[in-house]
């Protein structure tokens, strides 16, 4: 069960390509259910990147694989962020996602390795042409593997409902012309304690970070600015989540700054009608989190700053959006021995109803 181990510890010292490579192989192995050899295959990435030609080939292949996986596995237009595009009165959009988060790089002897697999289902409904409500219900599974004097153990790993998020967005400013739109929308809502937050296993109570839910009602608010043309898409969003206390534990408040640049690759020349648009995109997520608090005392081994760069691909038709992205950490300045994120993959399908 060494599949999480060494090659990708201290990934902040390694290249983004290598992290992306790890994510791809990880996905493939999960699909093949060959967990035990992840270590070998990820080591293979390192050797492979020594050759420039191989590296170029692998980068291209990775992009294609992510896109193909988007179709074949299936799980919104931006992948990891919100946007301010109009939804329309009475219109509904559903989105199914698959997210995998892997965090390792434990500097302590416990060598913790966290794996989160989330399956969020998102519903969007336009109440008026400017007011839109969103609901996100995740089904997820968090597991932590760690070394103990008695050997390596695994905790968590129960698949079930997580904390749902309900929020509303109001388009306060909108300016449009032929094939262009500029929109600014504040939004606000809350994360609700729908996920289990008192889970226990054979070792006792599961730690708060491994519980599927926080047990608290956590309000959040923010704003998003979107500019879209037929060729380009730009998006900037900021948000703040106030995490509150439950079960004598409080997650640190979270501040986010997100950005998206998207370019239409195909069709190169627009013709009459409504063809499908194929985009290449780059998203960016800056996440700053305060220390968690246990019984009112700050945990110095939690919180910090992470900046992700997320290359991705997106195909949009009138009724569907297929998309995939890999969030790769560019900067991780975490407090104490908090676990570093290796990657977050997102595959998603949206349907216009």
């Amino acid at each position: 069960m060494n599949y999480f181990k060494k090659p990708f510890q201290n990934l902040h010292k390694t290249s983004l390509s290598l992290r992306a490579c790890e994510a791809i192989f990880f996905y493939m192995l999960l699909l093949g259910d060959r967990r035990t050899s992840v270590r070998d295959d990820t080591s293979f990435c390192k050797g492979f990147f020594k050759s420039k030609r191989h590296a170029r080939f692998l980068k291209l292949s990775m992009s294609l694989i992510v896109f193909i996986l988007g179709f074949s596995i299936g799980v919104h237009a931006q992948i990891t962020t919100n946007n301010a595009l109009p939804v329309g009165e009475g219109k509904a959009i559903f989105r199914v996602q698959n997210k995998i988060i892997r965090a390792t790089g434990d500097p302590t002897s416990t060598d913790r390795e966290l794996l989160v697999q989330a399956f969020p289902v998102v519903g969007v409904y336009g109440i008026t042409p400017r007011l839109t409500v969103f609901g996100v219900v995740p089904v997820l599974d968090k597991s932590l593997s760690l070394a103990t004097p008695q050997g390596r153990i695994s905790r968590g790993g129960d698949f079930g409902l997580g904390d749902a998020r309900l929020f509303a967005r109001y388009d306060v400013y909108r300016k449009s012309s032929r094939g262009k739109i500029l929109s600014f929308s504040p939004f606000g809502g809350a994360e609700l304690p729908t996920g289990a937050n008192k889970q226990r296993d054979e070792f006792g109570r599961v730690p708060p970070k491994l519980q599927r839910g926080s047990g608290s009602v956590d309000p959040f608010f923010g704003a998003v600015l979107t500019y879209q043309t037929l060729q380009w898409f730009f998006d900037a969003a900021t948000s703040y989540q106030i995490n509150t206390e439950a079960n004598n534990f409080e997650f640190g408040d979270e501040y986010r700054l997100d950005g998206v640049v998207k370019y239409r690759l195909f069709p190169r020349e627009l013709r009459s009608g409504v063809p499908g648009f194929f985009y290449i995109l780059l998203e960016s997520n800056l996440i700053i989190q305060d220390n968690n608090e246990v019984n009112g005392i700050s945990n110095l081994n939690s919180g910090g700053t992470t900046w992700f760069a997320d290359p991705g691909l997106q195909y949009i038709t009138r009724k569907f959006v297929f998309e995939g992205a890999i969030q790769l950490p560019v900067v991780q300045d975490l407090n104490g021995n908090a676990l570093e994120t290796n990657f977050i993959t997102t595959l998603s399908v949206r349907i216009n109803i």
């Binding site: 299936g74 799980v75 042409p129 012309s177 262009k180």
Partner: protein, 123 residues
């Protein structure tokens, strides 16, 4: 893990089947002689185009429509003998979250003459 993938896949397939079925029914064809050409501002992707299409399709007097995303226009073909007011068109586009740039009657018979309030009904 496998269960999560299976669930994701299953839901995605169901959504695809439902959507492709709808897509087939709703496939657009260019209209040879449209009655009205509506200019819509802000229509910048196929997903947005479908929102406008759906709102306009709710108007009884419209038989067919054709969205041209490059020009930002929607061509409307009305049912035989039907008329459609500018107000009704503007309202539908607004509800879809967009702005009407222009409304051009290519067939004068499509323009309501006597009672604009009842103009979108069949005679």
């Amino acid at each position: 893990m496998t269960r999560s993938f299976a669930l994701t896949g299953l839901l995605a397939v169901l959504l695809l089947m439902f959507g492709l079925n709808q897509q087939a029914v709703a496939q657009q064809q260019e209209i040879e002689k449209p009655d009205i050409r509506v200019g819509v501002d802000g229509m910048a992707c196929p997903f947005c185009a479908y929102g406008i299409e759906k709102k306009l399709k709710n108007i009884d007097s419209i038989e067919k429509l054709y969205v041209n995303i490059k020009e930002g226009t929607v061509d409307l073909k009305l049912k035989k003998g039907a008329t459609l007011s500018e107000e009704r068109i503007r309202e539908a586009v607004k509800k879809a979250g967009f702005d009407t740039r222009s409304i051009k009657y290519l067939n004068e018979a499509a323009k309501p003459k006597l009672n604009p309030d009842r103009s979108d009904e069949l005679f």
